[in-house]
Amino acid sequence: MAVAALGQLNVEEPPPAWGSRSVDCFERLEQIGEGTYGQVFMAREIKTGEIVALKKIRMDNEKEGFPITAIREIKILKKLQHENVIKLKEIVTSPGPERDEQGRPDGNKYRGSTYMVFEYMDHDLTGLADRPGLRFTVPQIKCYMKQLLTGLHYCHVNQVLHRDIKGSNLLIDNEGNLKLADFGLARSFSYDHNNTLTNRVITLWYRPPELLLGATKYGPAVDMWSVGCIFAELLNGKPILPGKNEAEQLSKIFELCGSPDETIWPGVSKMPAYNHFKPSRTMKRRVREVFRHFDRHALELLEKMLMLDPSQRISAKDALDSEYFWTDPLPCDPKSLPKYESSHEYQTKKRRQQQRQHEEATKRQKLHHPQPHGRLPPIQHAGQSHHWSGPNHPMNNAPPPVPGGPGHHHYGKPRGPPGGANRYPSGNQSGGYNNPNRGGQGGGYSNAPYPPQGRGPPYAGAGMPANGPRGPASGYGVGPQSYSQSGQYGNSAAGRGPNQMGGSRNQQYGWQQ
């Protein structure tokens, strides 16, 4: 039995060649990030021309060899295969001792460096959200959140805690796919073991109260807190809990979520750091008040994500089941999302820094990709339209979700050096849209202080069923893989009902041609 199966496998999938390739198979293009333990470069595979991301494994600790964090990340990434988890393609090494930019020999004196080769992703969520003038639409936020939760649910089912969920670790490609990345702090966990884990994980602003209070036994709920912070940040337009240190972080959390006590969080007073950080006065929960401008379902979900007591916090699976994702406007198809010029938090930050230093445009060009690399054709939305033009979508269903203000200039922008704000003639922001509803509503987006949340008139009159029918296809409980594109987005009858964005989507891009 086993022998036969093995034989089949050998035919279908040739065994991997042993040993790793050299990093010389790749041409380094530019630095795009700084991981937990190394730099990340964009590179081109010379043989195929494929663009990849190379993550260098820093060998700082000469006493203990190959970093255990890298071992964890490699083990975990080889284990996780999911469309919402970054794919580790291979590992390559550089043959000789390397020198850093200053010409000093690199840390590892034994060999050259080791690099993980990942699929290249154009953006990270923070970099994208920081683009001046860009505002995500509601279906877009739902789409990202849904993918984030799907990927995270998959990790949790496979007993992996990510432990560093934040915008810059959520990569997005130009197909609108979101993938969890940087598993440098991730760990396997098991419910039965009594292993203690470190609480020195997760970037401060996204760190849950239990870790701040010193918990060393924790589970998937830590990641869900981070998801809540990101969710609120997407809707709010800026980070919601930007603490400067642990004490301030906790007090910000308590100001928002109320001060914890034994009734709302049984056991909290026994937490290691509870007495140290115990709030001096009782505060009441203000999530609903602070985020009252969010729509009802968003707020409901956020409340459950930002539960102080980790045991009461919503799981990724239940979050995916929440009304929010099944109420209009539905999450859009990732493919229908606009394509943006590459942006990573690292780059946007760097760009901003550099722009301050050199105002001249010539200098600015250097910071961007020297040339478009053919992989990203100018955006051709027409080609995808059939995907979305369901036969029964009246086109006046919903206004096309276009970010307000100058944001949508990015849509059709060819890759290359960006110009100033005036590169594209303004004034046709709504021109060319065929959607008759668009004219009247368009203005609302540009000026709205918050992304439209679908509780006001923009969506109300759309004549859609309030809830997409939840067909029998909802299978993510069985296995994360079943969140595949086919059943997930309702362009087929079997799905959750028609995606109401469909008809108008096509109209949206008419102006480009």
Binding site: A2, W18, Y110, R111, Y154, N158, G479
Partner: protein, 253 residues
């Protein structure tokens, strides 16, 4: 979803017996045979267990380390990858991969304690250098599924989880790491073979239970035969025979 064996890299890398029973060309030049290989690998498995007792790590770490070592020699020569360095390095790497990190200098300390002989002594830097070479030889595939978990589950399911049966089958399972079984067979079948042998040994009739399992009993019996053959041969292995194998390895070419 790949946290189960069937979608893991371990499953995809199960080897045919022919691919495991090899002596690398460089070693063959020294007259080292497949039989010598088996003896050396067995000795090194024992060495790993011994070191592991000193540094106090779980059996799982030992099992993973032995698996790394055996995988390594399906494609690398002992001439280039000295078994006396590969063995402790595999333990070092496995301790990281199994979240029971052991410091390299601690290993070096115990290596010196076990071996008075100069030539088997290695320093921290040797281990760290070999670690990188082994990572590469393993192609960074570090996940290993072991039969221990299925063994426990099977025994429970068969209602044979008395201390007696558990100890015996667990012990047999430990011994299978002195062979290359883990590179060739899925872990649950190895576990079943161990239970099979143990129940024959203890004269427990559980044919009915085995029949209800949806596994190919021929494979289980073949694995059992391999294990029994190993025990049989084991009695014939002399100290001289082992020394002769290591002697060939020490030859300069």
């Amino acid at each position: 979803m790949a946290a189960n064996f069937w979608t893991s890299s371990h499953y995809k890398q199960l080897l045919d017996q022919e691919d495991v029973d090899v002596a690398q060309p460089l070693d063959r030049e020294k007259g080292i045979t497949v039989e010598d290989y088996k003896l050396i690998k067995m000795q090194m498995s024992n060495y790993i267990s011994k070191l592991a007792q000193h540094v106090k790590v779980r059996q799982r770490v030992v099992a993973t380390a032995v698996t790394y070592m055996r995988r390594c020699y399906t494609r690398k020569s002992m001439t280039e990858y000295d078994p006396h360095l590969v063995a402790p390095t595999c333990l070092y790497l496995a301790s990281k991969a199994e979240e029971s990190t052991v410091q390299a200098r601690l290993l070096v300390f115990y290596i010196k304690k076990i071996y008075s002989d100069e030539k088997y002594r290695y320093e921290v830097k040797d281990i760290l250098e070999m670690e990188m070479k082994i990572l590469e030889a393993l192609n960074y595939y570090l996940v290993v599924f072991h039969p221990y978990r299925s063994l426990v589950q099977f025994l429970q399911d068969a209602g044979m989880n008395d201390i007696n049966m558990t100890h015996l089958s667990w012990g047999i399972l430990n011994d299978t790491y002195k062979m290359d079984l883990i590179l060739v067979h899925p872990p649950h079948l190895i576990a079943l073979a161990c239970i099979y042998i143990a129940s024959v040994y203890r004269e427990k009739d559980n044919t009915a239970w085995f029949e209800e399992l949806r596994v190919d009993m021929n494979v289980v019996k073949n694995i059992s035969m391999e294990i029994l053959d190993f025990y049989e041969n084991q009695r014939l292995v002399s100290e001289e025979r082992i020394n002769a194998a290591f002697g060939k390895l020490a030859l300069k070419t």
